[in-house]
Amino acid sequence: MIIKKYLPPRHKPVLVIFVAVIVLLQSSICTAALRTLGVGTDGPKFSLQEIKGDKQNFSSLKGDKLTILLFWASWSRQSEKALKQMEKLYVKYKDQGLSVIGINVERQTMDDKVLADIKGAIERLKVSFPILIDHGLIAFHDYGVIAVPTTVILDKYRKIVFVMSGFPLVGTRDMIHFVTAVIEGKKIQAEVAQRTGYHPDKRAVRYWNMGIKALKSKRSFNSSEKLFKKAIAADPNWVFPYLSLGRFYEKQNDFKQAGEQFQKALTRDPSNVKALSSMGLVLMKEGGSLAEAKRLLEKAININESYTPSYYYLGYLLGKEGDTKKAAELFAGAEKINPMDYHINMYRGMMYEEQNNMEQATRSYKKALKQLLNL
C-alpha cells in the first residue's frame, strides 16, 4: 500500500481510521473516475477495431438498456478481476438489454506480440463479450480514463449513468446492484443512487458539453468561460462547471480565479477528489500555503486511491519540500495505476528541474514527450 509507506510515523496510529474512511468513501470513486466526464454527461462516440480487424462503434454494439465499457489491460491485475465480473454480468443479462464492451488499452502502440498477448488473456479468461483494441489510446483519452481498469456504464442514448475507476469492493458491489436493478426494472437503493453521483439538470449538461467542446478549440476557447457560467446558472449545485471553469482560468495562469471556482466546487462537494487536487495544485502554483495544499492532496488520496493526479501533484509538492524519496514513491504509485499518463513524468521532471537536478529532469521530460508522441 502506497499510503502506508507514505504516511509519516506520527500518523500511523490513525491508520485504522484511515482505512475505514477509505472503505466508506470508496463510493466517491464514482464521482472522480474520469478526468473530465461524469454521470449525466454524454459518453464520446468511438470507432475501434476488434482483434480480427473489423471496426465497431457504440451503435453497433450497444445494449437496449445499458452498455458497460470496461477499459482494461493485461498488465493490470485488477483488470483480470474486472473482466471475470463483467463476463458474469454479460452471460446473465446479454438477452435482457445489457451489452458489455471491453476496450483494451494495453499500450500506446500495438504490435503483433502485444495483440497476441491480448488474445491470450481473452482466451484464458474465457471472455465472450466483444473486445475492441484502442490503437493510439484514442477512446482512453476521449473518455479521460485515469486508472486501469475503469468501468463506464452508458444508457442507450450514450449518456453516462455510472463510472468507477479501479475495481474497489464497495464500488463493484454498487455497480452490480445498479446493473441488476436497471436490467430487472427494480428500484435502485437510495444510498447506491446517491453514490452513483449527482444527476445534473439537462440544460446545464448541454451548456457544459458546449463549453468542453469550446475549450478544446483554439478559435472558440474563450467562449467556454461564458458557457460554463451558463451551466452554473442552470444548475448551481452541479460541481462539473465550477471545475471546468477553474480549469479554464488555470490554463490562462489566472490561479486566483481558478482557486475561487475550485473552492466553490468544494463548498458543494467537500469530498470531490478533482476539486481537492486542483485546489492543491493551484495553491502550489500561486504561492499559497504549501501545508494547506498538502492537506488537500492527502485528503484526495485518502478518498480515492485511483485518482493519479493527486499522487503526482503531492509528489511534486514533497519534492519542493526536499523529500525526494517520498515524492519518488508517489510518482511510482501513480505509474502503477496508469503507466500511460505522461503527466507523471512531466511533474517528476518539474520537481527535478526545481531541485537543479538537470540530468534527471531531462530524462523525465524525455519520457513524458516520448509518451505524448506515442513512440
Binding site: E353, K366, A368, L369, L373
Partner: protein, 166 residues
C-alpha cells in the same frame, strides 16, 4: 419524354470529366497515404508498407508518400532504404520539414550528431511546431552532453504537443 436522352447526355457531359478528375484527384492519393498511416498506427507495419509502396507506384511524385515510407522503414530498422526514401522526398520537396526530421534521425543513428543537429534545426525553421523534431533534437543534445539544450527541446516538445492535443 423525348427530352430524356438529351438530359442524360447533358449529365454525362457535365459529370464525365468530374469522374475522370475524381479518379486522379489529390484526395485519392491523400486517402491512400492515410490508409497506410492508419495501418502503421494499428501496429500492422508490413501491411502499411505494402499500401504506401502501392501509393508511390500509382503516384511517384508525392513527397509525403516517400516521407511515410521513410518512417515505416525506420520503424522496421531498415536504415539505408529509409534514408533513400527521405532523400527522394527532399528531391521532390526540398522544404519538407518532416523529411528533414526523418533524415536527421538517420544521421543521428549513423553517429553524425552535428549533421543531424544542423538538419533538424533547418526542419524547425521550416515548421517551428513539430514536437517530434524537438524530441529528436533533445536526443542529440543529450548525446552531445548538452543537458541544458536537451531539457529545453524536450520541454518545448511537450508544450507544443499539449497545445495541439487541446
Amino acid at each position: 419524354m423525348t427530352c430524356r436522352p438529351l438530359f442524360s447526355l447533358l449529365i454525362v457531359l457535365l459529370l464525365g470529366p468530374g469522374w475522370l478528375y475524381a479518379s486522379a484527384s489529390p484526395g485519392k492519393e491523400a486517402l491512400c497515404e492515410k490508409n497506410a498511416s492508419a495501418l502503421v498506427h494499428e501496429g500492422k507495419l508490413a501491411e502499411g508498407l505494402a499500401v504506401i509502396k502501392k501509393c508511390i507506384k500509382d503516384v511517384p511524385t508525392r513527397s509525403k508518400s516517400h516521407v511515410i515510407l521513410g518512417y515505416i522503414l525506420l520503424q522496421e530498422g531498415k536504415i539505408n532504404p529509409a534514408k533513400e526514401a527521405f532523400n527522394k522526398a527532399l528531391d521532390l520537396r526540398p522544404h519538407s520539414s518532416a523529411a528533414k526530421t526523418g533524415k536527421g534521425i538517420i544521421l543521428a543513428h549513423n553517429g553524425d550528431l552535428k549533421g543531424a543537429e544542423s538538419i533538424l534545426k533547418d526542419a524547425l525553421k521550416l515548421n517551428p511546431n513539430p514536437a517530434r523534431t524537438h524530441y529528436e533534437l533533445g536526443l542529440i543534445y543529450e548525446e552531445l552532453g548538452d543537458t541544458k539544450q536537451a531539457l529545453f527541446h524536450f520541454k518545448q516538445g511537450i508544450k507544443i504537443r499539449e497545445q495541439t492535443r487541446r
